[in-house]
């Protein structure tokens, strides 16, 4: 990929996922160097979320292998993938409704890659809340949060385990224009700090500004890979999104 000198954080080799006769992910291979942001884009139903579920261990690939820093993580189960250092957010925000905002963040930092407890955990959770812009909300109930704040909270929870790879599944979806700016700035900040991130996104200008590399999926298969500018100019990609007549 773009920089041969940095170690590869995540590699997928011929990963395929079949649901009965349907091939949701078809022979996907890619490599994510550390401290890079990879964008996974494609039309609805192209298998992006399935791919995220395969990486995070929610699903087991039918064939192929996913490795985190050279260690196979496909098929070991979601909780162990989290232990190894993959953290994620969910396409539809998932809060822990009966816990406070602070506890929601702490939940991410106890059993995952980094394991903290007690005062250290609470201090770290507060640091993360400040970092995502929720410093004042610590003792509030999650039901009192606005949508963007819930998104921020989910991000803080994912970061609490000091993940080696962070998966953001349509993290920017559903935000208003103003919120989108805040959201993009947040991810930009993470990128600047050296996080390794895979984002699934429909917001194209976010893809352009955030991603080092992009993979375009259509019907489960990779149809293009390159810098955002390259792939978005690709004729095949335009066809996949808009159909043949418009290409």
């Amino acid at each position: 990929m773009s920089d041969g000198s940095s170690a590869s954080a995540l590699t997928a080799a011929d990963v395929t996922k079949r649901f009965g006769g349907l091939v949701a992910v078809d022979c996907m291979s890619f490599e994510l160097p550390e401290k890079r942001v990879l964008g996974l884009i494609g039309p609805n139903g192209s298998g992006k979320t399935t791919m995220m579920n395969l990486i995070s261990g929610a699903l087991r690939p039918s064939s192929g292998e996913i490795k985190l820093y050279g260690e196979a993580i496909s098929g070991i189960g979601a909780s162990r993938v989290a232990n190894k250092g993959v953290a994620r957010t969910f396409q539809l925000v998932r809060m822990l409704p009966a816990m406070t905002v602070l506890e929601n963040v702490m939940a991410g930092g106890v059993f995952g890659h980094a394991r903290r407890w007690g005062d250290e955990l609470e201090d770290y959770a507060r640091t993360l809340l400040r970092r995502v812009g929720l410093a004042a909300a610590g003792n509030a109930a999650v039901s009192s949060l606005t949508y963007i704040d819930q998104k921020r909270l989910e991000l803080a929870r994912a970061l609490a385990s000091d993940p080696k790879v962070l998966l953001l599944d349509e993290w920017l979806a559903g935000l208003t224009h103003g919120e989108l700016k805040i959201g993009i700035a947040l991810i930009e900040q993470l990128r600047a700090e050296g996080c390794t991130i895979i984002i699934v996104e429909h917001v194209m200008h976010a893809i352009r500004s955030l991603c080092d590399r992009c993979i375009v999926m259509s019907s489960g298969a990779k149809i293009a890979e390159g810098t955002p500018a390259e792939v978005l100019a690709d004729q095949g990609v335009v066809r996949a999104y808009l159909g043949d007549t418009n290409a």
Binding site: A82, L102, G108, F111, G112, E122, N139
Partner: protein, 362 residues
């Protein structure tokens, strides 16, 4: 589900204090510990000042306090409503009944705990993948399954329909044994509540998928807690077996015991470790009245009590008290009760459903 251990929510550092492991106790925890010790000491005095009928009621209360609180250890944080108390209680009874002629009673109580733990581990590993209403039904079926196996075994072994347990123990001794058991349940529950395991279970109870992706081995956490909870139920059965004198499957594995433990816990409130205690005392007394006044309708009335508690006071007496004490409505108080969350509905949604049904009929 708020924390099982005592909450010091109003203060800023509360959560860290609740979670802090080890033996460093905050002033508040020391105070709570002192109150608990005093309450148990006072409860231990009961046989010294009374006997007969009142002591019988006290024994009943102590037994259900142990059962309902141990039920809460698993079902409280996870929202998995287990109706399997009777299965383990019966296993405990039969361990004692089967071995009382050959082994010392204290050894049999320990053996009952082990037997309950082993059964719970097997059952837990096999079934804790199912959740919601499926787990409720399964856990109810478990007691029935074990009962049928016991009946069959007794038939095959050619014994009578039951077993006699004859050892010499006085009523105060039963009471104190049950009280010690209850204290043990509380200590274990308190310890779990401030441990990583307790925190993991609360996350599981909130959203199991999030728990998995936070790195929690949810199956292991659930099995461990199910084993702990069931072990206590087995020991309770073992402790009271000689008091009942004659043990037979219909009595030892009675489903109404499972329901009573759940109802008492729900009546008291399931979001604090001591919640069930608030339900046990009034319910045992109420049940005594019901059993005397309507001896033939107890099952029916048990069902009525169950429904009333679930729909009228979903957060239990504890919820009512907390709301009365803390008028400025804190978030989380309108959350549906444990059973409702376990089954995935709220009273609000049910009410909507009923109203919709009504308007359709009109």
């Amino acid at each position: 589900m708020t924390e099982i251990v005592k909450s010091s929510r109003p203060r800023l550092g509360g959560i860290a204090q609740t979670l802090r492991a080890g033996l460093i106790l905050t002033a508040r925890e020391r105070r709570d510990l002192l109150i608990s010790v005093l309450l148990f000491a006072a409860a231990a005095m009961v046989p010294l000042i009374t006997e007969g009928y009142v002591l019988q009621l006290a024994i009943s209360i102590a037994m259900y306090a142990a059962l309902a609180t141990s039920w809460l250890l698993f079902s409280g944080p996870t929202n998995y409503i287990a109706l399997s108390t009777a299965a383990f209680f019966g296993i405990g009874m039969y361990t004692v009944a089967g071995g009382i002629d050959d082994y010392p009673y204290p050894l049999l109580i320990a053996a009952a705990g082990v037997a309950g733990a082993v059964l719970a581990a097997i059952v837990g590993l096999a079934t804790l993948r199912v959740s919601g209403v499926y787990f409720v039904i399964f856990s109810l079926g478990l007691a029935e399954l074990v009962r049928q196996i016991m009946t069959w075994l007794q038939h095959v072994l050619g014994t009578m329909s039951g077993l006699y347990v004859t050892i010499d123990r006085s009523e105060p001794e039963y009471y104190w044994q049950l009280l010690i058991l209850t204290a043990a349940v509380f200590m274990v529950g308190w310890w779990i509540g401030r441990s990583r395991l307790g925190f993991a279970l609360r996350i599981i109870g909130n959203d199991e998928l999030v728990a998995v992706h936070c790195g929690i081995n949810t199956a292991r956490a659930k099995v461990v807690l199910f084993v702990v909870s069931s072990t206590f139920a087995s020991i309770a059965g073992a402790v009271v077996a000689p008091r009942w004198g004659y043990v037979e499957p219909v009595v030892a594995f009675s489903p109404s015991l499972s329901f009573q433990a759940v109802i008492m816990a729900l009546l008291g409130g399931t979001h604090r470790l001591w919640g069930p205690l608030l339900g046990v005392i009034p319910f045992v007394l109420l049940w005594e009245l019901i059993s005397i006044a309507f001896p033939n309708q107890t099952t029916l009335l048990l069902g009525v009590c169950f429904l009333l508690i679930v729909y009228v006071i979903p957060n239990g007496l504890l919820g009512l008290i907390e709301r009365a004490v803390n008028r400025d409505s804190r978030p989380g108080q309108s959350t549906p009760g444990a059973l409702q969350r376990a089954l995935g509905f709220s009273t609000g949604s049910l009410r909507n459903l009923l109203q919709r049904g009504k308007s359709k009929n009109v």
